[in-house]
Symmetry: C2
Subunit: 178 residues, 2 copies
């Protein structure tokens, strides 16, 4: 699966929710997500631009691998996400095979659906408000068109700046290092 | 979880099934199991005596880490086993983070239950008949007693030799290298 994803800093959630509903977007689930990011024993994922994480939400637990970004403008990258039985067991296995839990990102995420867009309003602990728009494509599909559509939708929502390629994890890290 | 497990070569399944039923063991599920074992990029699991595998059965898929054996006589070791959504996704993630699929072990396993013993009659592709008896203990419990009970049960079943500490994967490898 290829995930094409663009994120932007927004002023506040209420105005954007209003704009989204005007365009016909449908409010979907809201959930608390706690992500534990791991460091690899053989690669510096900060430098290789990869990520391995365990995500725990209200209802489910996942393990997710994200490959390096494939282009400059959007966060287009390979993503493999798999439901698992337990965050605790996954952490135990990853630690035993050499991986190190490095950072935790916690957020409340409100999902919206519009056509084949998945829209997320992200209230991340320690960061200002962000919105993400994502389209998932099967491997091998052209992602340029998906990316154009995402930027078009941002435009319709009145957002033309504040785009951010840096992950929430790295944004939090940058704050800590300031 | 600590798994205390002893395996023995047996003559045939029919005689042992008869003996098991005489002792009151109850025939449990039977399943086909396909295990893919992985090699680590930072450790030679043959030498460190660890194992990382994906097991696919008729109904479920698991990922399992097994730590080094803690003693000589039984295969007493740490084991973490977690249900996962898909063998294909797990293989994809493990490959992306540096692990290499190394060997496949296929078997039909007939389970029996007796008190807190889990008994397995294993018809492994490429190997003669084996039986395993296992007790699972919470971490920190003394495994010496569990091990004694397992050898006692083997005795009651008339099995006093043919014990084997080598894994099916290694037994198959040894055959290939002969």
């Amino acid at each position: 699966m290829i995930e094409v994803e663009v994120k932007a800093r927004i002023d506040n959630f209420t105005d954007i929710e209003h704009e989204l509903e005007k365009l016909g977007a449908v409010k979907d689930k809201s959930e608390f997500q706690e992500d534990i990011y791991f460091q690899s024993p053989i690669a510096d994922y900060g430098k290789t631009d990869e990520a391995l994480r365990i995500r725990t939400t209200n209802n489910s637990t996942f393990i997710t691998y994200k490959g390096p970004k494939l282009n400059r403008d959007a966060k287009t990258r390979k993503e493999v996400e798999m439901t698992i039985e337990s965050a605790e067991k996954a952490r135990d296995i990853l630690t035993e095979i050499g991986f190190t839990p490095a950072r935790v990102v916690k957020k409340n995420r409100q999902y919206y659906k519009l056509e084949n867009f998945e829209i997320s309003l992200d209230d991340v602990e320690g960061l200002p408000p962000y919105m993400e728009i994502e389209i998932s494509l099967d491997d091998g599909n052209d992602y340029g068109e998906a990316q154009d559509k995402i930027f078009e939708l941002f435009g319709e929502l009145g957002i033309t700046e504040g785009f951010e390629r840096t992950s929430y994890m790295e944004l939090l890290e940058n704050l800590l290092n300031e």
